[in-house]
Homo-oligomer: 401 residues x 2
């Protein structure tokens, strides 16, 4: 018995049948004596349908109005889920993001949660209600609706679990946990029982697509007991926590990320502060930069290459072209046909053999490495996109994870 | 130049083409130097689609959750209309009902506006924005979303015009004004240029279907200059005001109302207070009663007949059956195959010939009158539904309106 936050994504609530399936999971948890808060996303393709409606009218619509439009998606799913739970005979109430107290900044389309005023949710829990909360939504200081951007519902769930000191935050998905690699791409991939926040963070960032990195960061910061479980099968999922029991394998998983583009600024004057100017420009526009490589060029110049997500590619290129002359750069290049392959595992920091083993596996498969980035718990390489599925498999097999 | 509230219904904003048509009307009004507030309904069939989604899951869903679901309809239309106006290059902002300050009671599904906190709307007007407001929506004292029931968007528009002392409130419809009878049913019907609040109120109540009675009542109470205009053609509509110039015709219009059912409580003991008990029961459940007829029956009993809207029929019958024995009634009957035909006009109160002329026209057409109700400015009769179209025509022609 305790306070449990359960999060269900769009495919889990996409139609009446799936909604009742979720209602059953939720009411079973409640019937065992738990207090239950449910965070849901918009149904199936609702968000895409809304984006399409907007694009038909104004492809350059303001983000503020897009957020008003997108807020309807989760309002539909919370009310329908509440109706399904009413039908099963349990006390329930739905709350929009702002009703549940989610206060955010004003970065429409990708807002950050500033604070959660939990009074209403706590009152409803004390009344004995199952509380259904719209994920992905916030309210800024001007009383305008915002959305939290990609993976926003996961973040809503974890933030609410943190604010309420919930005993557990369960993220229900179509898969039954976190895998050592994408099981659709790597046949030998296997489920991980326990993983640390940091390892999960690397896997999430790297495109494992089970949990969004913002939610894992928040879970780590507030020590939320996180669990990825299947919404389809009733079996143990993956526990994400601070310390996990030591397993014999160094490497927790291999991930591929296709949402990456490489931008190169060629022929910069070799002066102090040049790199700062490039990256402060991007950071001012909230463009996240990942792997960075700086190389000495010829005749006192240098080249800076870095990766950004594909959605930021054009904006980054445009920004750099605007300041190309004042930077003294010769050329701005962009390559999209790349993938990032990463291995993650807390054990690798004290084991220098890991990197060379990865490079060896790729070399034997004749896959060229374009850029390398390492941290205490991961090694990432940038390769040609056409080689990426093969790379996943050979690296996975090399470590026999 | 002034402050103008413009209201557009669901069919006026049903797709991108119609939205841009509305955006054109709105921005033309703004470009002439007016401050413009636009109240919109949900797009076309959106509300019906949402009701269907809910019915699939739980036909007995709570009204509170229905209101959360239905609130999404107007949120979609306000954001899309704002995007269309942005596209035309005008400053615009959309506001939900609660953002626009609509505070209501807690009668979910049919809430009444208690107060409008106009601060936000006034701020946006002062900033020079065209303000798009979601009609039909309110927020109760518990911060829960409500809806205002049928004709709610008209009421939102008039209430906002009243609260802001707007110079004009224009209700845009698919017809070009108020007619002496439904032009689809009576070929000789003609458009009315000016009509008083009271006359319009009777026509609205009686099913003229152009304006909802709640909005006209509110316009009368706060002396809002109301105008019904065509959203399709640019020509004068019908002005609704306190005093209109005298026309030679006594009768302003003829209306038919099919949304009516007759309930009879048969064989009640002939005691004081019995009628009060019947009607206080219905009023406690917010069931509105229209025409009432009480007749003396045999052996010290009496019968009470009255009409209610069809949607309240079953609830009223169930309520009365529950207390049948304690009332001492013999039987509860219900007839749905009836229509109400009414003539409306401020001149008739001083002209006793009007009623007999109406009854004569119906008598000559061999149409039986079941119940009669009169007020200072209208006469209504209850007849068989099958005769109703014929009745409309013969009455309209008798007065050559």
């Amino acid at each position: 018995m305790g306070l449990i936050v359960q999060k269900f994504g769009g495919s889990s609530v996409k139609n009446a049948e799936r909604l009742f399936h979720v209602a059953k999971i939720v009411t079973d948890t409640y019937a065992k004596g738990n207090s239950v808060i449910v965070v849901v996303s918009a149904q199936g393709d609702t968000t895409d349908d809304l984006l399409e409606k907007a694009a038909e009218i104004n492809p350059q619509a303001s983000k503020r109005e897009m957020d008003v439009l997108l807020n309807t998606g989760e309002m539909i799913s919370i009310s329908l889920l509440a109706m399904a739970i009413e039908k099963l005979g349990y006390p329930v109430i739905s709350l929009t993001g702002w009703q549940a107290g989610f206060l955010s900044d004003s970065n429409h389309g990708n807002a950050r949660i500033r604070r959660i005023n939990t009074e209403r949710v706590e009152n409803e829990i004390h009344k004995g209600n199952i509380v259904i909360v719209a994920g992905f939504q916030g309210l800024n200081r001007y009383d305008d609706l915002t959305t939290l951007g990609r993976g926003g519902s996961d973040t809503s769930a974890v933030a609410l679990a943190a604010a309420l000191s919930a005993d557990k935050c369960q993220i229900f998905t179509d898969v039954d946990g976190v895998y050592t690699a994408d099981p659709r791409l790597v046949k030998t991939a296997r489920k991980i029982d326990e993983i640390t926040y940091d390892e999960m963070l690397e896997l999430a960032t790297l495109g494992a697509q089970v949990l969004h990195n913002r939610s894992v960061e928040m879970a780590k910061k507030y020590s939320v007991n996180l669990e990825v479980v299947s919404s389809l099968e009733n079996k143990p999922g993956t526990q994400i926590k601070e310390v996990v029991k030591v397993e014999k394998m160094l490497i927790k998983g291999v991930a591929r990320d296709n949402d990456v583009a490489r931008i190169s600024v060629i022929g910069l004057p070799d002066q102090p502060g040049i790199a700062f100017r490039v990256f402060s420009l991007l950071s001012a526009k909230k463009i996240n930069v990942d792997i960075i490589l700086q190389s000495i060029g010829r005749e006192g110049t240098k080249d800076i290459s870095f990766t950004v997500s594909r959605s930021h590619r054009q904006q980054a290129v445009d920004l750099l072209n605007e300041v190309k002359e004042s930077l003294g750069a010769k050329e701005i290049l962009c390559d999209e046909n790349i993938s990032k392959i990463s291995i993650v595992g807390a054990g690798m920091q004290s084991n220098p053999g890991v990197a060379s083993k990865m490079f060896e596996a790729l070399g034997e498969a004749n896959i060229n490495i374009q850029m390398i980035s390492t941290s205490e718990i991961k090694i990432s390489v940038l390769i040609d996109r056409k080689d990426s599925e093969r790379a996943l498999s050979v690296v996975h097999d090399a470590f026999a994870i």
